[in-house]
Amino acid sequence: MLIFHLGPLATSLFSLLAILALVLSFVMLGSHWLKNHVYAFAAESWVIAAISASIGYYGHYPELYIIAALSALFRGSLLPYLVLRLVKRLHINREFTPLLKPSSSMLLGAALVIFSYEVARQLGVSLHLTDNIAVLALTCMFSLKLIGFLMMILRSEAISHILGLLVIENGIFLGSQIIVPGMPALLELVIIFDLVTIVMAFGMLVRFLQSHAGTTSSRGLQKLVG
């Protein structure tokens, strides 16, 4: 398996890229401007595409180059474009009603990363994989997941929710590239297209929300309770 025989250079490259993706998610946590979120997400997607490509190179999985290219194209360019267009159409530039200040949400994010590391370490111990890149990959995967959820919880704008979901998906992609690079490429391709479909569905619904419900903030969606 790839994770067992990686050279030191490859290991440090993957670690660097994985941590870079994690740091970019903190950029999203630390800002309330929706445009910054989208740019950070796009950058994160490009980083993940770079991870795919370098794993394809070091692990000799040629199909990963295609995944990398598609990932950069769809996640790194098309999705951010679609979300930015949505931001412009809705005339919402920033998150107006965050529950916490950026500093507090970043602190919470840091706590989540520590928690993820603990879970990943425990899994690593049970698999006899301590000190392996897999632990780092799992940590990033779980952290991005939890940070994505945190973004969805703390923010109420519909677009922030979409972005939170995209961060979660990015985390899964990042982790799966490192721990299961041999996973059938077909599946990853379909998931990329699935993501595009779901973002378009979200886009349509957000526009309906604005025109029919008069709000795009989840705090305005209070009609259905109990």
Binding site: M1, L2, Q122, L123, S126, L127, M141, K145, G148, F149, M152, A158, H161, G164, L165, I168, E169, I172, G175, S176, I179, V180, P181, G182, M183, P184, L187, V190, I191, D194, T197, I198, A201, F202, M204, L205, V206, F208, L209, H212, A213, G214, L221, K223, L224, G226
Partner: protein, 487 residues
């Protein structure tokens, strides 16, 4: 030997052709006709697949398609509910004249929703299964938001966000399952249910259980198990009634099939007690939440949505107890629930249109104004609470019986108490609707229900009565068989 590939191809092509035709012709009457025709054909095909159902799991089409007895059963439930909902949709949508210009879109969405549900149970690759489930969410979210009122859009939005976030967890679980397999089968192997079961014994307990919990929470969100159920009452109550019936009667079963398949992987790994208990606990919480919310509910369809939550809890407990008896009970429960819940949603849709309100406090003296359809609705309510002589009584009692023999007999008592609570609360609402105050002057219902509105209720009612009085021996054998082979 039946050619399953041809049957399945037909199963997918017929609704697809119907959708294309509906969108091309753009006429409401053609939409009604094409959707009904497609539903009839689909029902026939699912029945054929069920009857010819393999004694063992059949894998075809280059490992992508899997037909198992349980899968064929879930597919049959989809066929039944799709047919009933298509008949009812004709009657119901004719009561909404303002939607008439967009009616072809509604029928296309309904057929599309059915199509996605006909794909998912047949997927041999858990990843593709996940994608199929994701597509059911996207299509049905537009069905929920079809009426374009603020509430509908809000419900559709919550549905899409909550379920997508939940399903993302399930995807992580699937990847971790795959990772567990790479330790024995090498870095690249075909992702199939069978391979995951084969490799499970070699996967460390922590990883296996962790992956299972992720898929349980993920697909549990889609099933609507509490505490991930928050989208369910909104989505089920705001969509048009035929769509609600399909969401509740067909879709939830499919997600549960996924959970059961992942459960079988953990079972194959030899760590069944913890995972079964986890499923049971979610089932118990669902029953408790459903019970408490039914007591103080006022929206007719919201109450039915919480009742779906209750029945998914019962099903989760049936599968969670494990063992042949509880399993047979759960399978029987699936079809009984699909039929009864469809009937209930149709009845609720009729009354909502008649009294022009979603609220049960406005639906007054239903038996005086609608002696026949109101009466069938009342009988359906008795059935849905699990009272004899209807099918759900038999299946619930079988699940309880199986539970006593299981490793978690405590849950049987909790389940019994909560079922009694729900029975009382549910019928109390019906008591108010039948013997409560008179309608305010000028608010008496005047709507005439057509045969299209009542026929599907009867079509659902007759089998639940028959299945309650007589559990066919062939079905029992089939369930035992389904339990013995891989799901």
């Amino acid at each position: 030997m039946v050619d399953f590939n041809a049957l399945i191809a037909a199963l997918w092509i017929v609704p697809s052709l119907a959708i294309i035709a509906m969108l091309a012709i753009r006429r409401p009457s053609w939409g009604e006709f094409l959707n009904l025709a497609s539903a009839l054909v689909v029902f026939g095909l699912t029945l054929t697949i069920l009857v010819a159902a393999p004694n063992n799991a059949v894998v075809s089409a280059d490992q992508y398609i899997l037909i198992t007895p349980l899968g064929a059963w879930v597919l049959f439930c989809v066929g039944v509910v799709y047919l009933l909902a298509s008949i009812y949709a004709i009657g119901y949508m004719r009561l909404l004249p303002e939607e008439r210009p967009r009616l072809h879109k509604f029928y296309a969405l309904q057929a599309g929703f059915a199509l996605t549900m006909l794909i998912a149970p047949l997927m041999n690759n858990p990843g593709i299964f996940w994608i199929a489930i994701d597509f059911t969410t996207i299509v049905s979210a537009f069905l929920v938001g079809f009426e374009r009122e603020a509430e509908c859009i809000e419900a559709a939005w919550k549905y899409l966000i909550v379920v997508s976030a939940g399903l993302a967890l399930a995807l992580l679980g699937i990847i971790l399952f795959y990772w567990g397999g790479t330790f024995t089968l090498g870095p690249t192997y075909a992702l199939t249910w069978e391979n995951l079961r084969l490799t499970a014994p070699k996967v460390p307990e922590a990883l296996l259980f962790f992956s299972f919990l992720l898929t349980l929470v993920g697909f549990g969100t889609k099933v609507g198990l509490a505490p991930m159920h928050t989208w369910l009452p909104d989505a089920h109550s705001e969509g048009p009634a035929p769509a609600s019936a399909m969401l509740s009667g067909a879709l939830l079963n499919i997600a549960l099939l996924g959970i059961y398949r992942f459960l079988s992987i953990v079972d194959a790994g030899g760590y069944s007690l913890m995972s079964h208990t986890a499923l049971l606990v979610l089932g118990v919480i669902s029953l408790a939440v459903a019970g408490l919310f039914i007591v103080r509910q006022d929206g007719a369809k919201r109450m039915l949505a919480y009742s779906s939550l209750e029945h998914m809890g019962v099903l989760a407990m049936g599968f969670g107890f494990g063992g042949p008896i509880a399993f047979a009970g759960a399978m029987y429960h699936m079809i009984n629930h699909s039929l009864t819940k469809s009937l209930m949603f149709f009845g609720a849709g009729n009354m909502m249109r008649a009294y022009e309100s979603k609220s049960m406090s406005q639906m007054r003296r239903i038996l005086r104004y609608y002696p026949f359809s109101g009466g069938v609705w009342l009988l359906g309510a008795v059935a849905i609470t699990g009272a004899p002589p209807f099918g759900l009584f038999l299946s619930e009692i079988t699940i309880l019986r199986g539970g006593i023999l299981s490793a978690n007999p405590w849950a049987v008592w909790v389940m019994a108490v909560l079922l009694i609570l729900i029975f009382t609360a549910f019928l109390n609402h019906f008591r108010r609707m039948i013997w409560g105050p008179e309608p305010e002057p000028g608010k008496e219902p005047t709507l005439k229900l057509s045969l299209w509105n009542i026929l599907p209720m009867l079509l659902a009612f007759v089998p639940i009565l028959v299945l309650g009085l007589w559990w066919p021996n062939g079905l029992w054998t089939f369930f035992q068989h389904a339990f013995a082979v891989a799901p």
